[in-house]
Subunit: 261 residues, 4 copies
């Protein structure tokens, strides 16, 4: 059949398998989300609906791709963690990256209305993604710490910036006012000028969202006798903990455990 | 700031730039579309709505990513062609792959209702993608020929298979009936048993869909004087031509031209 | 200057840095060493001169490239171990591979006469090399165990095979005689037919050669007063230990230690 | 056998095949050749013996690896050209790079005495190598032009620099004297101050060395009747032509021809 004569072009596809026995991190990032957030009137400094939609998408991705053991999200980005022992898609980088990002993007549109109600989605969102190897637990934790520290830095800045702007300062003036300031300066401004104790701000904003599979009681109706059945299932659930410190990892020892179910 | 101490993890991100001066092909493929097409009652052998939705998504991708000069789609796959001279995202493989596939996926959900009306989307679709280098025009054309030949083979098989099934044969029996058959056998079955001349079937099914930027007259209303203004713009448009033969390329010499606008 | 107009070709050189924080193993292999060993009348099953020349080359490589902490060799192959913390040549794969292999090859010719005396080198030897990442200590040790187990298997086979051949069997007959035999069968043949206790064979043949930096007393003459000066230096030295078991690693804890001088 | 339990470590070896249908260029570079040339008292600005030894090594590499169609060398570097159609070592990058560089290095030592006579080789030389894809004839030619332009620039500088130094200037003063000078300035210095017409300098210095397979009459003695037999063979031979201009390629059309023997 004529096909065979063209099939040789397959040999131009290069292997892109990731190194075995390393943590895989798929990070997706919103493309052009500055404009996207303006078009859709996202609240400043944080839009609760937008965050919860991001979390919902991450949960849907984790429901679909069982190899993901944890996801961490903040702002318009999400990182998905696949364990060292996983052989998901033979660890092919583009297969993993593209599956995660397309699931995320399609779920974003799918569930938009549940979070934004009457505020219509104006155009299709876009995310990029990449898959990175982290060879040991320490660098994996440092990766997650990097993202959570980034969340903290940005959120403290944004909280202070928008407080200034809402109080009447121009965006330019607020920008200049905060240039070169340290964390303690911003904490001070918030406290003194706006009576805001930054540490009392909701953790979802300060810490970002971590999705892990939590033991959850699930109630279903038995098809046999119509009775309620309660079972414990592992359900991806968003929490807003500090994941930089040791505590979180002590409370969830299964995350870094070598052996998996 | 604490951030810097973790930032070293960036160095685990490896460069994945594609070789310069080669054609880049991003191919996306529906994941689990057999189940997806059953859940959504796609017509057999071809669902016109599903094809037109795929084409719409490809058009939206091309409207967004100007570097793509041609897209070819059939079944649940689409290939996007980026010229040798392009420096899109510095030719980073994962950036290109993920941007294209997430745009495609989010548009798929976004525009579903325009094509499927009351038939609701049951769950979020998923596509994978990869980016492949093709170093010269011949192998690029052979790549596209490979996909179009594949379209032909599958469509001829599916058309015959579903004609048999609709006439009362079980799927198993139809499968066995066609096993080992040649193109001419299937053409014969269609003609003799079902009075179908395969070559008269609509090109969109036999040839798949090719999206190119066609000169199109666009009418707009001048904001100055309210008069109609007609302009020629290049609009991504689906055609259903044979792209294996030389004719198509002679008619569109700009596609393979070295110099671009 | 005319140069600049061509210099763009540099952009076709792709990055090939190896993942940070992983063990790097450079393995070199003799190309066509079956013919090479015949041309140069290597003794069978093992040629002491050839082994010592290989070890010498490995030692010279280690004297030159200080990042290598251990080398393991057997037959016509050698593996060089570079620690996780090393940033040798920015961890560029081809730079590391090629530097090691070319140093090894040039030293092989350079020192040939010291080991082979009157037996002239007939033609230039050739080795290939590759660099592989191993993400943790366990897989690194398993890699080295793999090579030493391979040494054992081959040496036991070769020792038995050549004993049979030297006793009058044809090579074909010896081959057939040993086909499908287990280790204990070969041990038995050696013991019963040739009165050889395999375990008494010199470790250099059974275990291969491991080069590590040993503390060595070095005597030099002071240029100031002409007196002898004794100092302890770390000198790459061949030993013939078992490196599969835990003992070796307990005796040399610095090899797997995270912190390096 | 115990081997199998460790053999899994093979899966850490990643594929590194080069894109099909592209020119492969293996470039080797002397490591630390500044010191090497001083230790061995290379003549300045060019050491004829060193150049001819480099050429000899390149010829030996080409005699061994038949896929190489051309090699170009200057200073302490050599580039080997492998055609688009070649499937040498399945186009594995490290296999190709390492084989070429180790052959080159071992031949360098092997043939040293033929060119340097009594001047003994003091230590083993080292070269690095890399393999780069060039997707079409133009970029391949531009690559070679880049190297030959580099040869010209360096040789003109070195010729002028060493003329100044030999005439009594210190190296520092000569360096300063030439800083920022153009080609015509250096040509002028050579002509006016040293009565040297740069264009009359031997092409081997100005153009570097190109090795191609030249039809050569080879005489051998027939073993049958003891008579002389003359045959035409393709023998790798050094020439010193301009390879930037079109002429060279017109005279050797087989080099860029698609079809090969």
């Amino acid at each position: 059949m004529a096909n065979s004569k063209f099939e040789y072009v397959r040999h131009f596809e290069m292997a892109d398998n990731m190194l075995p026995s390393t943590w895989l991190v798929v990070r997706i990032d919103g493309r052009g989300f500055h404009r996207f957030s303006q078009t859709h009137n996202f609240a400043k400094p944080n839009d609760r609906r937008a965050i919860e939609l991001m979390n919902r998408c991450a949960i849907e991705v984790m429901k679909d791709i069982k190899d993901i053991i944890l996801a961490y999200g903040q702002s318009d980005e999400y990182s998905f963690i696949i364990p060292k022992s996983s052989n998901l898609y033979s660890r092919r980088s583009s297969k993993i990256s593209s599956t995660v990002v397309s699931l995320f993007a399609s779920n974003y549109v799918m569930h938009w209305a549940e979070y934004f109600g009457e505020d219509k989605l104006q155009y299709a969102p876009c995310f990029d993604s990449r898959t990175v190897c982290y060879p040991n637990d320490k660098v994996l934790r440092d990766y997650l710490s990097w993202r959570q520290a980034d969340c903290h830095i940005n959120n403290l800045f944004n909280t202070t910036f928008w407080a200034l702007v809402k109080s009447g300062m121009t965006e330019d003036a607020a920008e200049k006012h905060l240039r070169g300031s340290f964390s303690k300066d911003k904490n001070e401004i918030l406290f003194v000028e706006f009576n805001i104790n930054y540490n009392n701000i909701e953790p979802i904003y300060r810490k970002g969202s971590t999705i892990i599979r939590q033991k959850t009681e699930v109630t279903s109706i038995s098809p046999r006798n119509g009775e309620e059945v309660k079972r414990i299932k592992l359900i991806p659930t968003a929490i807003y903990d500090d994941i930089i410190g040791q505590d979180f990892w002590d409370r969830h020892p299964e995350l870094l455990a070598e052996k998996r179910r």
